[in-house]
Amino acid sequence: MGSFHSDPLRAAVHEHELLLTRRRLFAAGARTFAAGVGMAALGSLLGRDALAAGAAAPQRHWRPKAKRVIYLHMEGGPSHLDLWDYKPELRQRYNQDLPESIRKGQRLTTMTSGQGRFPVAPSLFTFSRYANQQDGVWISELMPHTGSAANELCFLHSMHTDAINHEPAITFCQTGHQQPGRPSLGAWASYGLGSANANLPTFCVLITQGIGNMQALSARFWGSGFLPSEHQGCRLRSSGDPVLYLKDPAGVSRTDRRAMLDLVNDFNEREAQASLDGETRARIAQAEMAYRMQMSVPELADLSDEDDETFALYGEEARKPGTFAANCLLARRLSERGVRFVQLYMRGWDQHGNLPAEMRAQSKAVDQPQAALIKDLRRRGLLDETLVVWGGEFGRTVYSQGSLSETDYGRDHHPRCFTMWCAGGGIKPGIALGKTDDYGYNIVERPIEVHDLHATMLSLMGFDHEKLVYPFQGRDYRLTDVAGRVIAEIVA
């Protein structure tokens, strides 16, 4: 690597990749343009963490409260009325028509716009009030374990979004924009924070197949959009290779791979000397890291070092790869090792019909493991540095979609209000914010946009969400687009 000059300032100039005018030379990011022109791309060589030399790497604005994020996305839109938004008075309004004054002509999906009536369907699950740092929070019988962690959780009852359908709604809550094309949350975190563990991917994605009606997922939910594609999420899979192409083919041992690597590095070192191409030398570092990842990822996925007490906490399901329980345990093990952003998906929350039965099964699969994750992080001293966020892409309607009976009903999509919760990473524990009306249909207190949540997450990660930008097609793009205000009430 280029020799260091004695005088640090001089070294800085030489070592440092040059940023020309404020407008990056071109959208692919200053670091990559260097690749094209053969300049010793110090940025790629020395890694892209927050203080990477690469001028394109943004500067953190203040000390982060959250070094890591775990996002639990409940795909399909879990019903806030059957889990968190307690509406006792609705019991008296069973099967009455939803008053027009409440509905105010909301834009309906065509599934229910054809309905003759909109009968109110109160939740048939009993709620209990769990003590927290305020006057307690009501949680449905479906989530007893999560209730037991209420002291750590901060409930946001007044979230709302614009999209009424899954595809645009999920894209919106993962990328801040309804149509494809923008980087996902994890990609922004990877771009902003860089890696904190050289042996593991910076942004990991874990998917669990649900029991209920499953909606589509797409690579764009964890894609890098216009950011360099190195920031895209890396899927950790429960079957076959945990990371795609990780395992060496049958008949190739670790020592074989080492021998092959030495041969390749030798050739590349020669090539780098001749061409002074920084990218060639960087590839040597990348290959070494790939070699190390072949050990660190399986070690991560090998749960033999977890004692029975862990499986008692997370539940026996945690022993079966691919389940939500197993993925929660993996999320803790990833965060413990400094992985910046872990994105979990639990599919199957789209209960247009047969809601009670499907929600019982879905809740049973997630309740204990997510509560265990919170408690496990806390007792290991990690929770205050790890931000955990839980939620779907929208809520579900108070009126029933499909035939309503005392034991069965369905709910349609409802973007105007839903509930999410978060914990750790600088969030005030054990509080609740925002209220919805008696029907759980409109927000009456402190509406919170998805962009506000994004702004808060970035703020906890040490970024002013208006200044974490990426220039593309002449515009400084932001995760929060042109909106977003930090939710001050919930930041410790």
Partner: protein, 264 residues
């Protein structure tokens, strides 16, 4: 997925240009050393003169000697050190005690850490968060912890600490000691089982579709494949049709075609 060796970066050198002359010189080299050892180092924010370090990538390979080589030279500038699951012991105290700016120290799972070890680091002036979960520290270091000048949070889950020790720690105002067995929040109040006043409309009248996808595959009137966008609600079930005029025929005389829809 991208993860590149972390460590000393030119920006650091640029930032450190502002600190004292001589020490500045080996800063860059020291940060290079840390990077080569795959220890992640970063500034809390660009204007800060201190560093955060995270050794999780290579924890198991760090013993006292390696720790000395890596962390001692910059002892005065560590703000937050994560040495979880490393193999450091009392030998590392020599430089640890010189980390007077240190605010957070994570010693999770370091079995080289005992009461004596804790007693000496507890004296650090700014130390406010100390993770001792999974170490051998126990009740013996409770007094030191109580005397620690700015300690706010300490974690002792799976350590040597007993209920008694934790109780004594709880006496100090402003100090949160977490022994891992923090009581769950209990359901203070459970609402009675809900019963609904049955205002159900006469059977067969509530015209609501059951699921988003029509319940039938073939159009009940013509038998051709259903087009999911042409649906009508019939007796609470979403019925699909193949074209625009079959629904009219169906609605004109539902009884005639309902049979094709199978069980209601």
């Amino acid at each position: 997925m991208r993860c590149i060796a972390a460590g000393a970066l030119a920006a650091l050198c640029v930032a450190c240009a502002s600190t004292k002359g001589a020490a500045a010189v080996d800063h860059a080299a020291q940060l290079d050393l840390l990077r080569a050892a795959l220890v992640h180092v970063e500034r809390p924010d660009p204007a800060s003169a201190l560093y955060l370090a995270d050794a999780s990538a290579v924890a198991s390979s760090i013993d006292d000697a390696q720790a000395e080589r890596l962390f001692a030279p910059l002892a005065a500038e560590w703000l937050d050190l994560s040495l979880a699951r490393t193999r450091i012991g009392t030998a590392s105290l020599a430089w640890l005690e010189r980390c007077e700016k240190l605010e957070r120290l994570d010693l999770r799972g370091c079995d080289g850490v005992d009461d004596a070890f804790v007693a000496r680091i507890a004296r650090l002036p700014h130390l406010s968060e100390l993770v001792l979960a999974g170490t051998r520290a126990g009740d013996g270091c409770v007094d030191a912890l109580l005397a620690a000048p700015s300690l706010r949070r300490v974690w002792l889950w799976k350590s040597g600490a007993t209920g008694a020790g934790l109780a004594r720690l709880a006496t100090r105002a402003g100090l949160l000691a977490d022994g891992g067995s923090k009581p769950d929040s209990i359901a203070a109040e459970v609402e009675p089982k809900p019963e609904f006043v049955n205002l159900l409309p006469p059977p067969g009248e509530s015209p609501l579709p059951a699921t988003q996808v029509p319940i039938n595959v073939d159009c009940p009137v013509s038998g051709a494949p259903v087009d999911a966008r042409r649906t009508r609600v019939h007796q609470g079930r979403l019925v699909g049709f193949c074209c625009e005029n079959c629904p009219k025929t169906f609605e004109a005389d539902p009884k005639k075609y309902e049979g094709a829809l199978g069980k209601p």
